[in-house]
């Protein structure tokens, strides 16, 4: 787990991930920022620029890593994300983007972006870690849940009607739309599903696909 940017979000992520038992490396240009990690933090810290190839290599980056670009600069975050993905082959990459208009552009590069909203850390964790049963809403009879999922290559090209889970909304290229029956899933779509927990599990299994589930 490599986190670039040790601000409020970065430090929160680092501490949370460490508590969950992951190996965490935090990178920041300013060593003073590491104070936010507290004394109990046992992960590694590195002083440097997150899109520098040597720093990332130093941080132990491999294609299996997860990289979270959460500095205070949108441009830096995108650069970090692209270097991680394109040079090092990292698949789990998230960039925090303040400017929603820019986020739409970067989504087209296929990089998962998270806007700065309440619960930014939670949203980032949900993108990086396997689905932890978090739901946005559950109906009063506890039958249906509203959950968010990001579409992977495994489901890309398939019709939204091919899954029993009801796809209530698709967020694509910065726009949100209610899908039609012939709408096809695309990689990087963020979908909101209204479904039973079985339907969600089945959906998640399809998402994991033949490429193997992310651990």
């Amino acid at each position: 787990m490599i986190i670039v940017g040790c601000g409020r979000v970065g430090s929160t992520l680092a501490i949370e991930l460490e508590n969950q038992g992951h190996q965490v490396v935090v990178v920041d240009r300013n060593p003073a920022a590491f104070r936010r990690l507290g004394e109990d933090f046992t992960g590694r810290t590195l002083v440097g620029v997150g899109f520098d190839r040597d720093i990332l290599t130093d941080a132990g980056i491999t294609a299996e890593s997860a990289v979270m670009a959460v500095t205070s600069g949108d441009n830096s975050n995108i650069m970090i994300a692209r270097v991680a993905r394109e040079l090092f082959g990292v698949e789990r990459v998230v960039a925090r983007i303040y400017d929603p208009r820019r986020a739409a552009i970067y989504e087209r590069l296929g990089i998962a972006t998270v806007a700065t909203v309440a619960w930014t850390s939670n949203r980032i964790l949900r993108t990086i870690l396997p689905h932890d049963g978090a739901t946005d809403w559950t109906d009063p009879t506890s039958t249906y849940q509203l959950v968010e999922r990001r579409i992977t290559g495994a489901l890309a090209g398939k019709s939204v009607s091919s899954t029993p889970a009801h796809v209530a909304l698709i967020n694509r290229h910065g726009k949100a739309d209610i899908p039609k029956s012939d709408t096809l899933f695309q990689e990087a779509d963020v979908v909101h599903l209204l479904a039973t927990s079985e339907q969600i599990s089945s959906f998640d299994a399809h998402l994991a696909g033949h490429e193997g589930a992310h651990s």
Partner: protein, 104 residues
């Protein structure tokens, strides 16, 4: 007077507001609709680039995706909608990182 619907504007194309590739103007925000007729990874300096050709009745456009090795659903023969600002140099119409929509 009976008005014939021109061959270059079949109903689908009109519904999606797509322009035939041959009529795409340089640097104007456009949508083209066609079939993916070729896909290749074109590495540049060790970094991947996915380059595909979208072909409609009037011609082909090139679409380059920076930094991608593959995109789910982008497969040969797939019908696709491409929206973006193209550069036309000579006979070649080229899009870079456009919006896309996979069609059934």
């Amino acid at each position: 007077m009976f008005r014939k619907r021109s061959k270059s504007n079949p109903p689908e194309v009109v519904a999606y507001d797509a322009t035939p590739v041959a009529e795409v103007q340089s640097r104007v925000h456009t949508t083209v609709m066609g079939q993916i007729t070729s896909i290749k990874t074109q590495p540049s300096r060790g970094l991947p680039n996915l380059v595909m050709k979208v072909t409609d009745e009037s011609g082909s456009a090139t679409v380059t995706w920076s930094g991608r090795r593959s995109i789910g659903g982008i497969t040969l023969g797939r019908k696709i909608l491409i929206t973006g600002v193209a550069m036309r140099t000579g006979g070649i119409v080229a899009f870079v990182n456009p919006e896309y929509q996979l069609l059934a």
